[in-house]
Symmetry: C2
Amino acid sequence: METRRIDPVNCSVARALSVVGERWSLLIVRETLDGASRFGEFHSRLGIAKNLLASRLDTLVTAGVLRRVPYQEPGDRQRFAYQLTEQGHALRPTLLALLEWGDRYLADPQGPSVIVRHRPDDGASTCDAPVRVILECAAGHDHLAPEDVHRTPGPGARFVDAPSS
Amino acid sequence: METRRIDPVNCSVARALSVVGERWSLLIVRETLDGASRFGEFHSRLGIAKNLLASRLDTLVTAGVLRRVPYQEPGDRQRFAYQLTEQGHALRPTLLALLEWGDRYLADPQGPSVIVRHRPDDGASTCDAPVRVILECAAGHDHLAPEDVHRTPGPGARFVDAPSS
DNA sequence: CCTTTGAGTTTAGTTTTTAAACTTAGCCCG
DNA sequence: CGGGCTAAGTTTAAAAACTAAACTCAAAGG
């Protein structure tokens, strides 16, 4: 007898990782959040090889995470900067989840090196409280424990046969 | 004149990625959430090369994400299975954030292949509502937009000098 | 004893990543 | 005009990571 499982290849996690699952992609995105936008900034901050950086930036632009925008410093020729798109900003929860995990389990003895705070870009709010990622269900339950969420097949699920073992 | 930035190398995101930032690590963790625990299950589900799988499992066990537990099928010798530790379960928000991102921007036309639902392990609850990752600050504001959170130096921050540009 | 089986290990070939040297395009200065 | 300067790449060669296939190993069963 056989049972059927969700095909592990047809999965948004796998597709997401095919874009941002390489060693440097998420670090490039993180640096844009700290103000980096130019080729040389990414290169010097991260220490990534230049050809690989060029290739990764291309990948991220093609995937829609970054946007390549021309800029011109006075007295210099036109160059290109790389900015987060809305799709790129949407990676922030992923980065914050990784940050929290790293802070909790791979902590620097001095404490976290970065604290993410609630601070609207308009500057109007004074709330500076630290921000966390939490799990919330559509019925309104929040702060769910990781063990209380389960993966179920969705409309796009493919199945593969597997020995019931 | 120079300005100072948070050292991008001394960062929990970078440390987290050094454990789970390789191509297969998060996929291995994901498979454990779908019930995989044995070497051959990871191998056949993911198609990862066996030597690399052995090496990744070692890395994840050493890092504390997986636990190696002996088991014995009747009429077979003792073997080892790999189970998530509490630290491994704590990666679930990261995986869910990636899943949501992939669903939103790299969607299968048929819809998501996986839906994560609120279902306590004790089976007592009937809540099956879909679960999402949201950002919440310590002051109680939730559903924060990605643009309204800012990275600030924490107690463990190191700084590097950078040209003010 | 001989075969089977799951869980690896070894080995050889391919791909990815690194590091360093090189190229390119425009501005500036003489 | 010509030569130097700079940021942003590209090229190249060597190192590291990954793949696939063959091999090993330890008990179990015939």
